[in-house]
């Protein structure tokens, strides 16, 4: 009995953890390319879910067509955000960047509230709601979709960063922007790419989680912060460390909610965030050489 329950918590924790991981990788990609923590990251997660809803309900698209549409529009939103808010900034000090990304996130959230209203919306599961029994625990088909899509995205990500010219160029920017510029890489374009990729990833995360948790104009805040927490545990890496960070956070949160108190569920993530920032700012798996300044 007790074991089955824990298995259940772990399974559902892993699936939310996968979502945190995707959002966290989005944070890391932008951070590594630009040194910016994009506080608006969560809003793209929200946009993904709500745009899918619009594609399904208003445009009557089938789900397999609605998802790419929603991702494309969210990516466009990410592009516009970079071009209109980040690039024109005259004094890009860290504090100004924090303020402008927060302002942007509020603006996007407000516009979403205008378009979709304050209600919570449901999105149908990708393939039915028949539970699947695993040991003494059960899973929904949507959980499997989350795992599968997360794995696919991570593989594509890996391929892009290590096997394509533009991915390698972006990694060069992460190591040293100046040197990357000197060898002929268009750094500004890489910055734009990083915003597009991470808004697309955020949107995917928002779409695959929406059938389980419902979606609304304000879901982006918490999801974004949890994603950041995953990235911090992973030491702001855009690879496996952040994935592990996300899964770890998801499981801890789920176990904490189940075994300790569901009211403090959200506090768990932030306590972990603070502890990591205080004790191991380089992340759980990182070497101590990278100072988080």
């Amino acid at each position: 009995m007790q074991f089955d329950q824990i298995l259940q918590y772990v399974l559902s924790g892993l699936s939310t953890g996968a979502i945190y991981a995707l959002i966290g990788i989005g944070f890391s990609i932008i951070y590594n390319a630009t040194g910016i923590i994009n506080f608006a990251q969560g809003e793209f997660v929200m946009l993904g879910g709500l745009l899918t809803l619009t594609c399904l309900d208003l445009l009557k698209l089938p789900i397999w067509a609605a998802i790419p549409c929603a991702v494309a529009v969210s990516t466009l939103a990410g592009l516009l955000f970079e071009r209109l808010a980040i690039r024109p900034l005259r004094q890009p000090t860290p504090i100004n960047l924090v303020i402008i990304t927060i302002g942007g996130s509020i603006l996007i959230r407000g516009l979403a509230m205008l378009i979709w209203g304050k209600d919570t919306h449901a999105i149908p599961s990708f393939s039915g709601d028949d539970p699947i029994a695993i040991g003494g625990a059960t899973m929904l088909p949507q959980h499997l979709w989350i795992f599968a899509i997360t794995v696919v995205i991570i593989v594509i990500n890996k391929f892009y960063f290590y096997h394509t010219i533009s991915g390698k160029a972006m990694r060069a920017c992460a190591y040293n922007r100046r040197a990357a510029g000197l060898v002929g890489i268009d750094v500004r374009r890489m910055v734009l790419f990083s915003f597009m990729i991470s808004s697309a990833m955020g949107a995917v995360a928002g779409i695959i989680v929406a059938p389980l948790t419902m979606t609304a104009y304000d879901v982006g805040v918490m999801l974004g912060l949890k994603g950041f927490c995953a990235a911090i545990i992973g030491g702001m890496s855009s690879g496996m460390a952040t994935v592990v960070g996300g899964l770890l956070l998801g499981v801890l949160e789920s176990l904490g909610a189940g075994l300790i108190s569901s009211g403090y569920k959200d506090a768990i993530a932030f306590i972990i965030l603070l502890l990591i920032l205080f004790i191991r700012p380089q992340g759980l798996f990182g070497k101590a050489d990278s100072e988080r300044v």
């Binding site: 004094q91 100004n96 924090v98 932030f270 205080f278």
Partner: protein, 319 residues
């Protein structure tokens, strides 16, 4: 310094005479909140504008002040005048202790850590239902009382709150012009350079963080005693962002700018009643526009704008 004093006196006279214009209408109530928000904006500005350290968790300190004062008086029957300083001291000590690990962080990481801190405090308000009443709030907080006068009307509260706000303004101006203020600005510009000339940057940052928390806590206690009812919704992340907006709009590192920002953001929703739901868009838009086009805030941006307009006219004449 003399000019500063004259400016302050003129401002005080303006504040004290303002109620005569309204004869105690509904606006008086709003002006009480302008006072409370001015205190909060100054508290955050000391940290952000002078020392250059961001905090996205100041609503938490504001809430702690309100709840400590509220619980001590409403549940345990303390005198509000005793509860307020006790709350301020407790919050100050907490901020001082947590300040050491938090302020070791910089920039984006400091923002995230303070944000996390604020959210944890907010969750605690919601979950410790036995103590705080949880999401449904805490009621029955007594009004302040002095020499037989109970501060229970908007006009009385106006003079009480603004009396204290003026004291906070005077204190902040003095602090900014003192050795400490100069040290803070040095830390803002370059921590290393400040250390080199003998400023203990680490300690100073923690001290200003604690001071900022104490002022916020005081504002929170006053809020609790004027409202007589508090609920966690007033102390969430959104309010931290609203405070940040006030400071940025008014002008970083300007005490009167904080007043301008607080006044604008408190009065704006009242004049935009019809646009109630859109206030979130207005905040977001204001933040983006200000950082992009007026990074110095209204206090510096507006005079700059005038100068530029007149200059460009002059330039056009020559050409």
């Amino acid at each position: 310094m003399k000019r500063e004093l004259l400016k302050f006196l003129a401002f005080s006279v303006f504040v004290l005479l303002l109620p005569l214009l309204f004869e105690g209408g509904y606006l008086m109530n709003v002006l009480v909140f302008v006072g409370i928000n001015t205190m909060l904006a100054i508290a955050l500005n000391l940290l952000l504008g002078y020392a250059g350290q961001i905090s996205l968790g100041h609503a938490g300190f504001f809430g702690l002040g309100a709840y400590l004062s509220g619980v001590l008086t409403a549940t345990y029957g303390w005198n509000p005048w005793q509860a307020m300083p006790v709350a301020a001291i407790v919050v100050g000590c907490m901020a001082y202790l947590i300040g050491f690990p938090v302020l070791k962080l910089k920039g984006h990481y400091l923002a995230m850590a303070t944000l996390g801190l604020g959210i944890i405090i907010y969750i605690v308000f919601n979950e410790t239902i036995d103590l705080t009443g949880g999401p449904s709030g805490l009621s029955g907080i007594p009004n302040l009382e002095a020499g037989g006068v109970v501060f229970d009307s908007d006009v009385k509260n106006y003079y009480l709150i603004w009396g204290i706000t003026l004291a906070v303004i005077l204190f902040a101006i003095n602090l900014a012009n003192s050795r400490v203020g100069r040290a803070l600005r040095a830390v803002h510009d370059s921590e290393v350079a400040a250390q080199v000339v003998g400023v203990n940057a680490r300690l100073l940052k923690v001290q200003i963080f604690a001071l900022s928390a104490v002022i916020s806590s005081l504002a929170g206690s006053l809020y609790a005693h004027t409202m007589t009812f508090i609920s966690p919704a007033s102390f969430g992340f959104n309010f931290s962002v609203e405070l940040l907006t006030m400071v940025v709009i008014g002008g970083l590192g300007s005490v009167y700018g904080s007043f301008l920002g607080a006044a604008l953001l408190t009065l704006l929703p009242e004049f935009l009643r019809a646009a109630q739901d859109y206030d979130i868009i207005i905040y977001g838009g204001l933040l983006v526009v200000m950082v992009m086009f007026m990074p110095g805030g209204l206090v510096r941006g507006v005079p700059d704008l005038f100068r530029r307009i007149f200059k460009s006219r002059g330039g056009a004449g020559h050409a």
